[in-house]
Symmetry: C2
Subunit: 556 residues, 2 copies
């Protein structure tokens, strides 16, 4: 196949499209490769936009990874920016193209067509959204417009939507010294996390002076000298500029009009070789629907990593190479001021919504050995299957080492590993990097204990009902640790005295023990259980309890 | 089994022994648990010793994780420090114990015995080694003695042995402002790495003022006002103190005298349940021999992580729980000044020595997106099986993000993953943390290209012969990159001009292309190959070539 001169047309020249084009060239020097990019730039760093806004990336040019000229020189790609494909004639294998600068229309034939049009910002149909002071943050021109609007008079900016782009934009605006309001419809920030895991992000935003409005939906924008944002609740926010970061939707119109099958999510449907319902047309990146590797469900998952890999796979398949996409697992990470939050696989919300059976556990462990300076806690949540112990999902938040643990857990999900496998992982240990028992090992060991019945857990959300049912709550932390607060209604029985002291705890009522992070509670639980008590350990201890309280408070 | 009161005696109270003891208690409140520790401390942070020496860990007490009292209070453990087990009567199930403070002898019976005596520093039989100014760095008393000897007159210290402890000790001594010589018998530092991967560590040591002597064996120590170290080569080093960090050997004497089977490596032989040849006696940690998960060979691998996990497994097995140790893979990491070096699985030296067939590849990639500030290169080496592509080993060195990639690759080895799996890994990406194609993905993609014949590589070590055979060496870097040097005899043909320019390169002779890190060389290789040239890409490019040159220079 390599011998026949092929003509490959690629719609979209950023992540997936650019990857596909470069791979096609490596596979065939004779192929004619035409990349049609609607916007004025190809291969730009869209993930870097917020960081240029915030000033960390000083030079705008740093975001331009390639130009049409450099792609021609390096790969012999015929890249046409400001050229939009407006229709596909599948029977004739032709695309119609509009030159957006001149208005000129023309067509190109193709042997294979790769669709990589990406996704577009969701723009709700709200009054006032057409004000010139309302921006999105998807492309370099979007960023250029926003930055041009940031004159000295601009003092306050509102960001609508608390996903990755929203949070990164908020941080960037604070770096610029602006007052910022963050408006999010749901009761938490960063939807890929469960609400208790996202609670520290809300606190981090507040600490950094961001006005966070959760559970507030924008209803309309009133334009005057300033903008007035009206929430559905009636609440008002006065602001100078608005950045909409509600989310994105797949650019499916071209595919839809060409009669290609669109998935139930709105993404272009492809098989595991990136083929659409037309075997000469491939689609990759944010425009498509993917299968989740854990539950097999069709989802939209606009992420740069999968887009790049899919582009490479489409090129491989066109040239007859065995290459398949295995699905996505939603591994993602977000830096927010001093915190890093990351997740992989399914979260608890999704597991509950899909009716899948699962177990969960929390740990809070140092990113490295506690005796080596600079250690900080990582809070981890693990979701796994009750029978097999197979890992279904994981979330983590902390100052350091968060991305490492989520990467390790992402590979564990990819390999269909279980809690047993986590317990046995041999990770790189020296005091500056980890612990002899890494947090991931601890997750596995706690999971094993849960699976084998050694560790009987109660979860924060079940605490109230258990107390109402007569359970006694025992705080086993040492007395000097209690200054930061205790769970209301709990009694202090420090672990260091539990074994030696006469046990004054009643055996009549069930006991719920907790410590700071869960481990000492487990030790106390094993002691009390074997001494004839009915006892459960509060999973994740006081720290998890605090995260739940913070999440709940956000929801009020 | 839990119901019968068991008596468990544990020899050694640090990593593996302490883990076993705590786990036994969690499994059984009725068990009598006696921990006999020969030294004056239990459960101390032996991995932290060099960091206290260097002053990063300010408080000595930070290294004492537990005391006999705290272990009694928390776990009801009967811990006896300064108590040495001198013999085992297997028939009677008795151990004889010497109280090292009083000289008193007594015995204890056991139902199960767990041996966790650790390893001892290797002390060669050399004249002068008994000088009081010669130290080891294995226990807290070792460290105390060394630190007490560091009076103001001490200006120069020599460290013998460039393994983990040796390197960490060198850095600590430099932190204290001392002049340091590092003496290592082999031609490289940090034996778990291959020599070219270790070369940057040598440079880092030199940059930080360390006098590094490779390929030098200590022959004797001459004691006078100062110490004079005589090398076998005749070279002399004047010094004030010596720290011996040549390595450790398993403490097998007790087991040997008891007639337990000792493995060919000198480590106590155990099965995958940590059982010795006597089914009532278990052994864990640095004293035992383990199986390497990649090649199944019996090895000594004194690491804290495996020791801790083995202790837990021994306890589980005693109480009838299904728990097995799967072998070790030698994942390790070392911080040296500004560099981190880490490895997992087998290295090339070992693969060659064991006659295993393998492929290898090098990449040099940013720890995170190049357009986000602060990115630095990680050099990675991957070893994999020719047919299956299964990962056999990996090494990495760089300033940041090294431990993360090696952890990911360690899990890949554990899961028996191949280069295909690496290419498809979905790791957490945002510009501060990685790239849309993570270095691990790049390893996988390069491995796939090698497997499928797209990427034809030549290695640095074969370059001379190829050139002698008539190959032309082409440097495809841009002209502004050449200031740092080129491979002798190479011609410059920048990639940006290769495609447009008239090709002046002869088709008669085979071509070897290289760029800085390997990727652009690959692009050039694909272009030239498809234009009728015989061409190979120098794997890892100029950077790998430089690492080889540095390693070679060390060996001169």
């Amino acid at each position: 196949m390599n011998q026949v001169k092929q003509k490959i047309v690629i719609v979209g020249g950023v992540a997936g499209g650019a990857s596909a084009a470069a791979r096609v060239r490596r596979l065939s020097e004779t192929a004619e490769i035409i990349v049609l990019e609607r916007g004025p730039y190809v291969s730009f760093a869209n993930c870097g936009l917020p960081y240029h806004l915030g000033g960390e990336i000083v030079e705008r040019d740093a975001l331009l990874l390639h130009s049409p000229e450099s792609l021609m020189a390096r790969f012999g790609l015929n890249v046409r920016v400001n050229h939009e494909v407006v229709s596909i004639d599948r029977a004739a294998k032709l695309v119609s193209i509009r030159n957006r600068l001149t208005g000129e229309m023309y067509s190109e034939s193709y042997d294979s067509l790769i669709l990589a049009p990406g996704a577009a910002p969701i723009l709700p149909l709200l009054p006032g959204l057409d004000d010139v002071r309302v921006f999105t943050m998807r492309t370099l021109p979007d960023l250029d417009r926003l930055m041009a609007a940031m004159t000295a008079e601009i003092k306050h900016v509102s960001v609508v939507g608390a996903g990755f782009i929203g949070l990164e934009t908020v941080e960037a605006l604070r770096h610029r010294g602006l007052a910022v309001s963050l408006i999010e419809r749901s009761e938490q920030v960063l939807a890929p996390l469960d609400s208790e895991m996202a609670a520290p992000l809300k606190q981090e935003l507040t600490v950094h002076g961001v006005d966070v409005l959760l559970g507030e939906s924008l209803a309309k924008i009133e334009s005057a000298k300033h903008l007035t944002l009206h929430m559905e609740s009636g609440r008002l926010v006065q602001t100078d500029l608005v950045v909409l970061a509600i989310g994105v939707k797949p650019e499916n119109q071209l595919a839809k009009e060409a009669g290609l099958v669109i998935g139930s999510t709105g993404g272009v449907l492809v098989d595991n070789q990136q083929k659409t319902s037309d075997s000469s047309i491939y689609a990759v990146g944010d425009a498509i629907e993917v299968k989740h590797v854990v539950n097999g469900k069709s989802i939209l998952l606009p992420l740069a990593g999968p887009a790049n890999r899919q582009g490479r796979i489409a090129a491989d398949v066109i040239f007859g190479r065995k290459s398949t996409y295995r699905g996505s697992q939603g591994t993602s990470v977000c830096k927010l001021f001093g915190l890093t939050a990351a997740s992989t696989g399914l979260n608890e919300k999704t597991l509950q919504a899909s009716g899948l059976d699962y177990r969960k556990l929390y740990i809070h462990a140092g990113d490295h050995a506690g005796y080596y300076p600079g250690a900080s806690l990582i809070s981890l949540k693990l979701l796994f299957a009750p029978e097999s112990g197979q890992i279904l999902g994981a979330q983590a938040i902390g100052e350091k080492g968060v991305d490492k643990r989520i990467d390790v857990l992402a590979v564990a999900i990819q390999a269909k590993m279980s809690v047993d496998d986590l317990a046995e992982m041999e990770l790189a240990y020296a005091p500056p990097y980890g612990s002899a028992k890494d947090p991931v090992n601890l997750l596995g060991m706690a999971g094993q204990n849960m699976q084998s019945g050694l560790l009987e857990s109660i979860y924060v959300e079940d605490l109230e009902q258990a107390i109402a049912g007569g359970a006694q709550v025992i705080d086993v932390r040492e007395s000097e640790e209690l200054g930061g607060g205790m769970i209301p209604g709990s009694q202090s029985h420090p672990l260091s005295l539990l074994r030696s002291g006469a046990l004054t705890i009643s055996k009549e009522r069930p006991i719920l023990v907790y410590c700071q992070a869960g481990l000492r509670g487990y030790i106390a639980q094993r002691f009390l259980l074997q001494n004839g008590y009915q006892v459960k350990n509060l999973n994740g201890g006081y720290l998890t309890w605090s995260m739940y309280q913070a999440a709940r408070k956000s929801q009020r």
